[in-house]
Amino acid sequence: MSKLFHKEISLCTQAVTWGLLAAVLLTLIPGYPILVGTFLVCLGIFHSFQYTNESNDILYSVLLPVRKRDVVRAKYVKVLLFEGIAFVITAVLTVIRMTLMADAGPYVTNPMMNATPYFLACVLLVFTAFNVLFVGGFFKTAWKVGMPFLRFGIAAFLLVAIAEVLHHIPGLTFLNEPGGAWLELQLVMLVLAALIFAAATWISCKVSIKRFEKIDL
């Protein structure tokens, strides 16, 4: 597994995948739908999968002395690495916005989604959609990337739209409160999102392994 992971990073990962991690900095921009940054991180990972196809990586990998299931696992581990890096940076930026920059004018009057634990929960849900719809969809054929990414794109657009709309609905404005009395509830939502992310990614990986074992390459 570790060798396959090394191969994933050395041969399959493009500079654009690393570069688009910088999209998490959008978290700091007021008056902007900051959840779009998460979508852009996923777009960077998508480029690696596209490159994987162009490079015949799957055939190269299955001819190596490895188990087919490990080829799938290594891809998921790589995806989780990038999502993990993006999430940690996003979380740090969220904490900075909620504490050191809490009183900054543009954030106080921000009409869009604030950086809060609720936002972090939404980040995890976008990653969940990517892992299930795109990565899981890719392993139906191990070469088609377009349709799975389109499905993810639609789901991500809906998630961003819903997340941005919800906190404008009377009674749900607490979702956009950066701290205060609602912090605990938002943290509960974050934990729930983390559980959904973990369970859905695990199931997606299991299903992908089964699919990949049956595919004729």
Binding site: S10, L11, S55, N56, V62, L63, P65, R67, L217
Partner: protein
Amino acid sequence: MAILEVSGLCKDYPAFHLNNVSFTLEKGRIMGFIGRNGAGKTTTLKSILNIVHPSAGQIRFFGMDLLPHEDEIKQRIGYAGGAVDFYKRKKIRKLIEVTKTFYPNWDEAACRQWMEIFALDENKTPAQLSEGMKVKLALTLALSHHAELLILDEPTSGLDPVSREELLEAFTFLKDRGVTILFSTHITSDLEKCADDITYIAGGRLIASEPMTAFMERGAAEGRGDTLENIMVSYEKRSIHDFAAEVTI
């Protein structure tokens, strides 16, 4: 000792059926796997390597069933599907650096030696190599982990005569060092130079699998011709008149 045993191999596609293909490859021999385009050579080789899933049949390498011992078996074999067509924009040095981590018995000295013999420049990318050089790169990767069995899918297709000659010479050189080779081709003159055994399929069915000399003698006795090409043409050729009679042109 049988290095590879294939028995009753079947693979069903909607428009093609590989039907009950069986053959055995003994250690230290070169087997030519022949058949015209679309006969099922690549399907057979891919089934042998579990790249596609056979509908039926048994495959054993070094006396072991393929599926439960896939990792172990792949340590001992090398496959080249013609020219290297993966990571065309990565430097050969990088490809080798990553590939060798998967093989505990990777021999860096042997790798250097084969690179030198084949005049490969590690600072080039596969995209910068000719087709012949790409095949040589694939062979270098396979030989550097001391593969005991090389499975090569049409390695000489697209090569110029000199490169083909060099490659066939390399096969003989490897055979003398105990390496077993199974290579598919439809260029029969290649086999006449180096093959010990012939496995011949047509339309997904096995026509013959036997020593080259026996195959040639039988072909001559049946009046099919005295060269591999003539024998193959005799099996395969259907005149335009035969087609016309069937489809009513």
